[in-house]
């Protein structure tokens, strides 16, 4: 057995520098590296926030009446401003995590505002139920997105990134090892002889 086969690989170097502090959910951190799907969902929620905010701002009184809360027009407009701020925050920041969590908190506020309508004017209960259903649906997406952003792996900075570039696992080198096991006889559950490719 060659000496290199028994020699353990050199230990990784992650401990050479102080570990970086994990980011808070409530602050942006450019090290977060969410997958593209999560990034796209977050961006979609940003545009949704803007659209909803503009609608609430311009149609606050009508929305309030539809929900059976005719005196809450100003409140709906205020929520519209909140949505616009959140939308701008999501679309304008490198890391939208705290803004998506703000949307989750906003969903809670919206539900708390609309919920009493279920026991209010019977003519508007159906509208209230529709609004709550929509809030629940968007809320689920908000929570999943916020959670995915918070759990996203951190981009390893060059400062802490360990160097695994020499860890081939082949003591004799890749070129010398490639095909060393070509003689392995396939077991019966690999391609039957009759189904093998011709030539």
């Amino acid at each position: 057995m060659p000496a290199s086969a028994s020699r353990p690989n050199p230990p990784a170097r992650p401990g050479r520098t102080r570990p970086e502090r994990p980011p808070s959910r409530l602050s942006s951190d450019h090290r977060r590296r969410p997958d593209p799907a999560t990034r796209q969902v977050a961006q979609g929620l940003g545009w949704f926030s803007l659209a909803l905010g503009v609608t609430e701002l311009t149609c606050g009184d009508a929305i309030a009446r539809w929900l059976g809360m005719p005196r809450a027009g100003a409140l709906v407009r205020a929520y519209g401003v909140r949505e616009i701020v959140q939308g701008v925050g999501i679309l304008g920041s490198r890391d939208p995590t705290p803004w998506i969590w703000a949307r989750v908190a906003g969903d809670g506020l919206d539900v708390a505002t609309v919920l009493p309508g279920l026991t209010g004017d019977p003519r508007h209960r159906a509208n209230t139920a529709i609004a709550l259903g929509a809030l629940a649906g968007v809320g689920v997406v908000d929570v999943l997105c916020a959670q995915a952003l918070s759990d996203a792996p951190l981009a390893p900075s060059e400062r802490v990134r360990a160097d695994y570039r020499s860890r081939s696992g082949f003591p004799k080198g890749i070129a010398a090892t490639r095909g060393a096991a070509r003689d392995v006889r396939p077991p019966e559950f690999t391609t039957p002889e009759a189904l093998r490719a011709w030539a």
Partner: protein
């Protein structure tokens, strides 16, 4: 003794549990000298797999020294011998064991009625891997009871270190089987999804088996570094389209062999697909995310082979059966028939063809286990593989 004990979702503790004892004539007690945290342990850590109970001891990748044997072991093992324990418990006498299909041993799962309900038939008993597979205590502990010990072991030759042979219990033969069942030919391009420990072993196995080109898909930079070190071309799926790049590397034909070393917790780079799967999981309409399977079926060259060592536990959705059928793809999967491969693999380690210890990035004692589970799960601190020394 000390052991890593499952208490619930993301709650693993190092605590005292009763010492194991001989319960059957074919049992042996092993003093664990090294154990590893496996990627599939994370499915238990995150509670994706059903069937765990509070108090279960974790771990199915371990090795150690024989300290006690039952009468039925009949000299197959002697006190003081060093052994790696395969994660699949095998009786060695049932029809499946006789055919070499050890991972579907018909006798070793003592909860076979549960497995039959879940899967239609029983599969082998596994160490530390839910009550569906027997509820056996795992090897992330100071001592472990090994049932059917006269067959459930791999003897370690003199001169090889623990770290060289530890992975014979799981990830090395798992990567090997994934590559062998892909029936790799010298003209093949092999695409491997996932650059975790099993993915790394699969890359090395594909190289050993002589693949013309090996491509690995992941998004974690240090894992891609290690994949390149092993001879793979890498694709960071967060930076480029996997399908476009694979077609580019294969002159538009697609890889002949596709291997899923990710399994049930895959993340899609496509927003709609990711939201779809997460919402369906949230409302319990599917249990596993089939992102990699869908991509493999789509991109694989017609008449190619899909090999699936990645763990799936339940139901997936939106499998493109039309593409699978019309492209004439072959699907091969399964838990690893560990002992089918290990005699050969031990020789390859001893011969210096491969040293599986390359994958180890973190080491610690059992007491470091709970924190290292978190580090491994979150891919923090450049963690790829953790080895614990009880």
């Amino acid at each position: 003794m000390k052991a890593l004990v499952w208490h619930g979702t993301q709650d693993i503790r190092c605590e005292s549990v009763p010492d194991p004892r001989i319960e059957d004539d074919r049992d042996a007690i092993i003093k664990v000298t090294a154990c590893a945290i496996c990627g599939s342990d994370l499915h238990l850590y995150d509670h994706f797999m059903p069937g765990m109970e509070k108090g279960d001891v974790m771990g199915h990748e371990f090795m150690g020294e024989v300290v006690e044997t039952g009468k039925g072991v009949n000299g197959s093992l002697r006190k003081g011998e060093r052994v790696v324990i395969p994660f699949t418990i095998i009786c060695g006498a049932c029809d499946q064991c006789k055919r070499g299909f050890f991972s579907v041993c018909e006798r070793s799962n003592r909860n076979k009625h549960l497995a039959e309900k879940a899967f239609g038939h029983t599969t082998a008993g596994l160490f530390g891997y839910t009550h569906l597979t027997g509820g056996y205590q795992g090897g992330q502990a100071e001592y472990v009871r090994v049932p059917f010990a006269d067959r459930t072991h791999i003897k370690v030759p003199e001169g090889l270190t623990d770290e060289q042979v530890l992975f014979l219990g799981d990830i090395f033969p798992t990567g090997w089987q994934a590559a062998v069942q892909a029936d790799i030919q010298p003209t093949d391009t092999v695409a491997i999804w996932g650059a975790g420990p099993v993915g790394q072993m699969t890359i090395r196995s594909a190289i050993l088996l002589g693949a013309k080109q090996v491509i690995c898909i992941d998004s974690v930079p240090e894992r891609l570094d290690m994949a390149r070190a092993g001879g793979a071309i890498t694709i960071d799926h967060t930076q480029e389209s996997t399908v476009e790049r694979l077609n580019e590397l294969t002159a538009g034909k697609g890889p002949e062999k596709c291997i899923d070393a990710v399994g049930m917790e895959a993340h899609s780079p496509r927003a709609l697909e990711q939201v779809y799967d997460r919402v369906k999981q949230a409302v319990m309409l599917e249990s596993d995310r089939a992102t990699v399977l869908r991509e493999m079926i789509y991109v694989c060259r017609p008449a190619g082979i899909l090999s699936i060592p990645g763990v799936y536990g339940g139901l997936v959705d939106k499998i493109p059966m039309g593409a699978l059928m019309n492209k004439g793809l072959t699907v091969r999967t399964g838990q690893t028939h560990v002992n089918r491969w290990t005699d050969d693999l031990v020789k390859r380690i001893a011969d210096g063809q491969i040293d599986p210890s390359f994958v180890i990035t973190h080491r610690g004692g059992l007491e470091d286990g709970p924190e290292l589970y978190k580090t491994f799960r979150d891919k923090k601190d450049n963690c790829i593989k953790v080895v614990l020394r009880p």
